[in-house]
Every structure is written in C-alpha cells, then in structure tokens.
Symmetry: C5
C-alpha cells in the first residue's frame, strides 16, 4: 500500500481512517407497554410486578462501571427507553437479560434497540500524529507505527476518561437518533481526503460548542454493531434546544451533504421510583 523509497512517508499514503478512542458499551432499549394486558391484572399482581422492577432498576441506576437510565417516550414509537452504559458488551447482555427476566417484561413489547460504544473521534489530532510519524520515517502499520499510535490512544483514553465513561447526564429530556455518513454515488464521505473531513468536522464542532451550555451530547460508534454508523444522544432541560441545534447544524457542509438520519426518539427522564406512577391504572 505505501512503499517508501526515501526517508519520509508521502502524505498521499497516510491512512485515511481517523483515530478514535472508545469507552462505555451502550445499549438503548425501547419498549411499548401492553396496556390491555397490564390493566387486566389484579392490583396485587401489578404491585408485585412494579416492586420487583423498581428494585432492579434502582439497583442499576449506578453500577460498577456504568448505569441504567429510564425515559418515558413521546409518541407511538415506544413508551419507555432504557439507556444502559456498561463496561463491556457482556455486561450489556446481562443488563438486558436481567430486565427480560422480570415479570414486568411480560407487559413490555420490544420496539427498537441500538448497540454502540462511546466514541471520541480525534480528527483534530489524527492528521498531526500521522504526519509526525511520517516525518520520523515510520511506515504506517509497521510494528513501530502501531506502538506509537497505541501510545497516543492510551494517552487520550486517560485524558478523556470522564467523557468515555460519562455519568448519567443531567437534563430532563433526551433525544436519541442513529446516523450515517453518506456514501452516495457522487457525494461520498469516505472518499474525501482526511484534511477535508477534518475541516468539515471542525466547522461542525464549532456549532456544537455554541450550545455547550444548554445541551450535552454523547456520540457512540456502531459500525460493526448496529445498522447505522453512529448513535447520537442529546440531553437538555429545554427540548427546543434539540431542534435549534440540529437545524443549525443541518446547514453545515458535513450535515447538509453527508448526514443520513434514522429514527428520532424523544423522552423525559424518570427515576426507577417513578415506575409505579408511569404504570398507574385508571
């Protein structure tokens, strides 16, 4: 791929994939409540079911290496959204199975889910790192190159640990949606040169920064895990901010031309102890 005859690696041969660091494993679970079936139970049965589920959910609002947050969704796409952050996919699987084993699950119908890992894309430093290694004459993907890259990533992982393993974000409202970068026949994100992608991502980031005070954003990567390339979670106290932020970004080149969006889910944060109220009958 990149055979180099003289000292220094040609910039044209640098890898195109940006450096990323990954953190928490993330599962979004969206379910619908089977109201008719739920209402047909006796008050005693409903109480028991709520108690068991409340107990489980209270216990996982904070666990070693993560948390589970519950949201009540607006509209028909689902009634409840469970967002699980964990240390690993296995822990996610356990979180999912724990819920599936509750009696509550008899009254829930899975509607959607999304599997991803928290991801920080290092577009800003990637170019610098790649060019630096090239100037040192280190061949891409050589053992030395790999070691240097891993060293960089490890540094970033440490520095960014709080963003890679975030706490449950404040914010009364959540907005979740998956997205892709377009690979059209004419407009193809993956064929833009790295510096151009970095430029567009930086422009994009500047819009986000203007909203830093009113919205918290968590990006998770899902290439190889789910049907879109990234998941986006936004958290805010005023849901109008979701619209303003995303509308403004839509005029960025990277969104206007290269963003493809999946389904949008909007919900209100609930505590485990709100379950009884959410499932109250009559």
């Amino acid at each position: 791929m990149s055979t180099v005859s003289d000292p220094g690696i040609s910039a044209a041969n640098l890898p195109e994939v940006p450096l990323t660091v990954e953190g928490a494993s993330v599962l979004h679970q969206i379910v619908r409540i089977r109201w008719a079936q739920w209402r047909s139970e006796t008050p005693e049965r409903r109480s028991a079911v709520i108690d068991e589920a409340t107990g489980l959910l209270s216990g996982v609002e904070s666990v070693d290496g993560g948390w589970t947050a519950m949201y009540s969704l607006l509209g028909h796409k689902g009634d409840l959204l469970f967002v699980h952050f964990r240390r690993s996919f296995e822990d996610l699987g356990n979180a999912e199975f724990q819920l599936a084993r509750t009696a509550l699950w008899d009254y829930m119908e899975p509607a959607y889910s999304y599997l991803s890992v928290v991801e920080l894309g290092l577009y800003e430093s990637t170019g610098k790192v790649y060019r630096g290694l090239a100037e040192e004459g280190i061949e891409p993907h050589s053992a030395e190159w790999n070691a240097k890259i891993e060293e960089t990533l490890q540094r970033q992982r440490t520095a960014m640990a709080p963003r890679l393993y975030p706490d449950i974000p404040e914010g009364k409202f959540i907005c979740f949606y998956p997205m892709n970068r377009r690979r059209g026949e004419h407009k193809n994100w993956y064929q833009l040169p790295m510096p151009e992608r970095a430029r567009q991502m930086q422009e994009h980031g500047m819009v986000g920064r203007r909203y830093a005070g009113s919205v918290k954003q968590i990006i998770s990567g899902s290439i190889g895990f789910d049907d879109w390339e990234w998941g986006v979670d936004l958290f805010a106290d005023d849901p109008l901010v979701f619209k303003k932020l995303i509308y403004e970004m839509r005029f960025d080149e990277v969104s206007a031309v290269y963003a493809e969006f999946g389904t949008f889910f909007v919900g209100v944060r609930r505590r485990a102890t709100d379950l009884a109220e959410l499932l109250q009958v009559g």
Copy 2:
C-alpha cells in the same frame, strides 16, 4: 468561521439558518379501533368505557394553554386521530398518558404519531436582520448579536402569539402529512444560499395566500423531534381544496424540486360527545 478584518461583516459569512419562532407543542396520535374486541364486550361495559373517555376528551377540548381535537380518519391507516396542542412536551406527555390510562385504550392500537412544535419561519425578515446587524458591525454569534437576535425573536413571538398558540381550527376536514426538504446528491435545499431559499419560499407562500379563504394551515417543526423535518396540518370544509392547493404548489420550485412527503392522513372533525356514535355497535 467568520473572521472580519474591517468594519462590516461580509454577506458571505452570514449564518445560513433562518430565524424561526416556536409556539405550542404538538402531538398527533393515530390509533386503530380493535373492533372484534370492542364488540365482544357487554353493552354496560361499552357504555362505561365510552363515558369515561368522553369525559376525559370533553375536558381537554380546551385546557390551559392548548386543546385536544378528535378526527375520524378515512381508510386503513387509522380510525381516530387525536391532535394535542399544549404548552410543553411535558404537558403533551401527560395528555398521552391520560389517554393511555383510560379503559378505552384497551380497544385502541397505536398506528402512528408525530411530535412537533408550531413553527413560523421568518425567511422574509431573516436576511434583513442579518444584514442589518452586519452593517452595524456586530459579529454573528457574539453576545451582542445573540441579544439582538433574541430581541427580534421576542418581538415576533409577541406579535404572532395567536398563530403560535392557535385555537382548534374551524374546518370539517383535516389533512396531515410530514415532509422534508430534499438533501439529494445534486439538489440540496440546505446548500442553497439564503436569498435563493427566501425567494422560493416567497413564491411558495403566494400560492398559499390564494387559498387563505378556504384552507387554514399550521406548520410545525420536528427536526430533532421526529423522523421528518416538518408537519403540515390543513383544515378545510371542502376536502377538494387539499388536493387543489397541494397540486398547485407541486409546481413551485421549492416543492417540485425540494419537497419529500411522508404519509397523508385525512379525517373528519368529531366532538368528544361523538365518541358514542363512532363506537356504536351493530
């Protein structure tokens, strides 16, 4: 993004996002009636169910900060459409949960929904405001700029309050559909310069104005809230007007080239007290 060396901001650097003001939070709920299950109940049970639901719906035909209107839909997409206008997303969530908790809901199957906020796009004044601030040498997104913009928006919100928080529109028929502006590989609304978008929107608006006497239109924005960018509600006494208006608009440049449409729902207005008749058996 916009570094300015001399007094005056270059027009080329003005923001591309048009100013908008927002009003009522809106939820469209479409449900199908489970006729077989409904018919299998005793007349007494059916009466009780209808009474409870009629009571609830009568109570929300007008509430503080909004209203709920009911429509019976034509065709298989759904039997009933509930349109909720409220002050906030939380109030919408409550409206939704109130319905879900009625016994009526055991005989209803959610088919679709749409979450949005009433939106007035200020394309006409946006350019003027942006250019005015530029001429005053006020940098976009600076604190001063933000304050001036907010001042403008606040003025508009006050002036347009009746349109931002409208009453239930007169009109026997409703036509609801969601839509996007195209972001194709070659035709991309979000890459047109602001003045061109403003021109097309104005042309579009002129068609609408010719129908002002026979149709009422409410636009709501749903970027960040639902799977399309806008929801459109039309209200008229003669449903043929829906076809005429939308067909004529289809030849506008902004619709011909840039409009993408979701599903269309057409219904007839019903009062809460019509529920008994709508659910009458045999």
Copy 3:
C-alpha cells in the same frame, strides 16, 4: 409572480398546473379474511354474519350518488377488495363505518386502502384556455381569470358527468394500483413545461385509446388524500389485457421516465350474494 407591462400576458408566466375536474369520492378497502377465527364459529353464527353483511352490501351496490363493488383478490395482499364510489368524503366515511360495524368485520383484517376522487386531467384544453385568457389580457389568478376558469371547468363537469360519476364498470376483472409522477434530481415531471407535459400525455393517451374496446380505465387523483398522486383502476374481461396495456405504455416517454408505481391488486368481480360462497367453510 407575473407582472405584465403591456397588453397580453407572456406565455412564460402562464400557470403550470393543468386544469382538472373532479367527480366521485373513491375509497378502495382491502381486507384479509381471518380464516381460523371464521371457521371456529358455529354454522348458525356464520349464517347470521353472512346474512347481515350480504344485506348491507346488496343495499350499497347502488346508492344515491354512487355504489360499492366487491372483488375477490388473488394472492396474499388481501382476500377482498371493496371499491366505494360516493358523492363525498363524508359518504365514504359512512360507507366505511357501516362495514366496520357489521359482525363480518370481526373476521376481517384491514390490509390496505386508498382514498381519492375521480379526476379528469384537461391537459389538451388547459394550454388553449390559458393562452386564450392571456390574449384577452386577463391576468392569471385575478378575479376575472378565476371566474373564466371556473366557467370552463363547470362546462367540462357537465359534459363529462358520466365519466366523473361512472357506474360500476362491466368487466370480470379489476386491476388497481397507485402511482406518482417522478420528481427525481434529474428527471422531474413537475419541472417540464406545460406543452411538453401535454405532448407526452397525448402520446400516452393514444396507446390507451387502442385498448378502449377491451379495457375501461378510471383515474382518480389523490394528491393531499393518500400516499401516491393518482390511483388507476382498470376493468376487463380478459386479465391479459392489463399486462399488454401497461407493458405497451411502459415504453411511452411519460411512463418510461416519469411513472413510479405502488402495489398492484388484481381481483375478480363478485356480487353481494356471492359472499356466502366466498366464505363457505370445509
């Protein structure tokens, strides 16, 4: 939109929307039979259900201002197709609710529907009328222009009344499908100039005319009513004619380039009194 400085309106400023006249309101309802549930009933119950439904359907094979025809469909898309022609959308709504209230409906599952109004597109005369009014110096959309146009439409409605409110067509077989005119990024029907659209529609019509003896066609418009722009009903005694006609038309420019098709439904005409045979068990 069209500012005219000298007598005579520039052709370039004529409206692009063709004149149309509308007739009967149309609802296609497609349902599947729940065989297992149906078979589980007693013969007495089945008889009673059939009698009630046959009575209703017999009564609406011809009603004031319309009719309901029943077809048994081939394939899994549905078992029965009810085609309702009525004077208004309200009458359609009543027709739909009448069926929904029969006991038969407990054994039917809605699979699809289509809402439209019979439409005759007057491409041939539109250009003539528009140019005539322009030559008289009458400004498009002025009160005078509107009155003249309405006069023309009214004349056409009277002349074409039998086609706008047609009887149930003869023909053992029905073929129904919805369709759009393409609005692609490069090929966009709604951006072709009126004379070019008129030319293509005329070429298209010539093919249809060759089949006039063996197939009857009813076009209904559904812009603003349903998810496609038009519905097409073909009626013939030999279903092969559907294939020949549509295949031949596919090479017309307007179909080859600008036609997008939805789902095709093919059925056999049945009388209300055939219901017992159609639902016969064992």
Copy 4:
C-alpha cells in the same frame, strides 16, 4: 405517433414493445406454519387435517390445464411454497380458495405470493416482424398490422405450447425471485432502442444456454399483475447451480445495469404425500 408520407414506414417509428406470447396463469403462495398452534392439537385432529390436505394436494398435482407443486423452503421467509399453474386467473383463484378452505389453513400464515403468467419474450423475431411489415408498407396498429401480428403470435403460441404450459419441472430444488428492468434517471431500459435491447437479451440468453443441461428456467410476466415486472423460477438438482448461473449473468450488461431483484426463495420439492412428514410433531 407515426405519420408516414411515402411508401414504407420509417424504422424510427416502429413500436418499441417487444412481442410476447403468454401461457399458463401462475400463482406462487408462500406460507409459514404456526407450529405452536399445530402442536397444541390432538394427534387425531392433526391426522384428520393432514389427510384432508394431502387429499386435496394429491388431486391437484395434475389437473386439467395445470398442476400444483409443493416445496419446503429454507429460512424464515416461509415454510411451504405452493406453485400453481392453471389455465386462467379464475382457476388460480379457485386453487387458492380450495387451500384456504382446508382445516390446514388454520395453521398456516400467508407470508408472500406472486401472480404472473408464463411469458416468452420474442425479442429475436420482433425486430424482423416489425421491419417486414414496415417494408410491406403496413402502418403499425392498423387493422392489417394487428391481424398480421396476431397471426405471428398465434403461430408462436402453437409452436411453443409445451413451454407456455410446461409440466412440473424435474429438479429437486426451486429458486424463485421477482425482478424488474431498471428505469433509473440515467439508465433506463425502457428508453433503449429495440435493437440494443435485443442485443443485450441475446447476450444474456447465451449464458443461460450454457446452463441448459443443469437448470430449467420458467419466466413469467407480471406487469399489471404484481409488484415486479417478471417472476423467475429456476429448477435444479444441485442448488449451487442457481448461484453460479445468476452470478455469471450478473456481469451481462442487461443484468449488471438493468436488473433489480426482489426476494429470493429457495426450496426443496415435496410430494403431497410428504405433508405428514413435514408436519410431524415431536
């Protein structure tokens, strides 16, 4: 469309639709078995159900003018595929209703179907015939032209009767899929001139001929009948041949550029008497 001033019809004005001859009416029915419901029945009931269905299916493995063949499908798309060849759509309708009326159908869930007629496209002779008639000065679509064309078709129908009304093909495996010819904005099959389409079809046919010994192919036309333009049935003793043949064809111009494929179904041939084994419990 084609106004001719001197003797002889310009080649440019010849019809673009290729001649075809049609044979058997074809319905593919794909169903899923409701295992839980089936298993919940008593052995006696199951025996009775199987006996009734086996009797019916045995009786239609060969009927006047056609046959019904059963295949067990691989994967979740369906468990059983019934392929019905009949003389007419009415006979197909009867075949479908006969099955629907069996007790077996209570344990079957319709998953897909496809309606078509056996079709032989006469691309090779179409050009010759059209040019011949043009040289004789016979105007396309004139009465004389129609008569001559019908004469040609009748000759072909007789000569090709065994291919138009084929027996159940040998071959342990079936592969069925529907397909379209592309009508893209840039690549549009229906806008290629007849000679070019004929050339591509001939190239395509040459690949098929190389597989003549190991695979049998039946093409059926479904324009106007179902949601794709053609259905393709392949029959072979070695299913690998399906992959080899279709992969090799994919590099033909007509497939590479103009083929759009629907769902693929692969199954194993079963006799009516295999039903007991297929539905065996435990």
Copy 5:
C-alpha cells in the same frame, strides 16, 4: 460473445466472472424468545422443554460434515442466533426442521434468517488462469476450457478444504451481516474490468490481513439463495475489533464506493448446555 479470428484470445473477451470455490452450506437463524408465554409454563414443563432442546443442540455442536453454534444476541433484533454449517442444503433443511419440531420452538418467534454457502473468491488467480488459457488458444466456455477450469477449481477445493468446511470458530463474539456490491447508475461493481476489481479486492484483503490475529472471517455467497449477495461472519474475543476492522475497511475503495450493508447482528457464543441459564425465569 467472443469470436476469435487469429490464434490467441483477446484479453477483452475473457469472461468477467471471477472463479470461486464453494464449501459448507450455511443457515443463520435468528429467533426471539416469547418470554410471557415461556414464563407462564410450569417449572416442570420448562425443564422438559430445555432438556429436549439441550439434547438436540448438544448433538449438533458437531455432526458429520458440519456443526451448529448458538449465540445470544444483543438488542431487539433477536434473542438467539443459531448458525448451522452443513454438507448440503438438504442437511440444512433437516437441521431447521429438527429445531422447528422441538417444544422449545413454541416459545420462539423467527425473526430473520440467511441462506448461503461458504465461498472463496479467487480474484488473484482468476486473471492468471484466464490469460493462461487464452494464451494456449483455448476458447472460453469450450469443452476444453471448462475442463481446465474445473481442474483448477478442484485443486483449489482440495487445498482450501479447511477453509471451505471450517470448524466452529473460536471467539467469544460473533458479528454477522449481509452485503452487496453496488450496481448504481454511475458506480457499478459489475461493470468494472476484472483487473480493476482484482486490484481493489487485493487492497481490501491487505486491511483484513492486519487483523488476522484478532478476528476470524468467513465469507459465504448467497447470490440466488438470499436477498443479499454475500454474508459475512466475524468472530473475535474483543468485539471492539469488529468496529475497528470494518471502519478501517470503509475507507478502501471497494467498500467506500461499492459496499452496501444489510442488518448487523452481534452475539455472544453459548454452549447447548447454557440454554437452561439463558431461559432461566425470575
């Protein structure tokens, strides 16, 4: 197709289809657990069901000519994934029916499946072989050519037998997804000349080789068998590797421009004896 006037076959006339060798027949089955129904059974019934299924699954973890492996999936797309490798499609059909006949299947709902055969594409040697035969003056598709090709393939099948009939791969995690090569109107894989396709595949393969130590990949071909052209299975102990590998590949020309992806499934390997734990209640 290839008429040759002098000794030697023009390179331009060489076949475009690459040589492939095929191995095991493969079926992926994805099912959802019907928890409510499962939980409603008595402990005794559940034990019996688990015992029967565990027995069956234990018996097929290794069978003559293949194996069945079980994975628990993350997210709502399915709960369990069964991957069957067998000698033939008939054996696959048997494996599928064996499962369908267990009592366990009453509590399982089929969600997806994928039918394919292990395939090794021989892009590297195809060109060499084709050119070699051309230089010998052997006409493509002649009897001699076919014999020589079959000889080559047979040699490859023997040499690659362990990859064509692989054991259950080590690796705690599986990632499965189907994919196509794009046949767009402008970017069409099947119209690239063989040497260009070979070049892109080689570049693609170099990325894969860098991950050889941490991920095992099995490609299976499904043209003619299922709705996508290939299935991809990745196996790894660290699921992050799936994301890294696929993200890096996305920048390869063959993936960036020509890859279209279906649904992604991610699961954790389970033994037959884990079934009791997976289905544990409460």
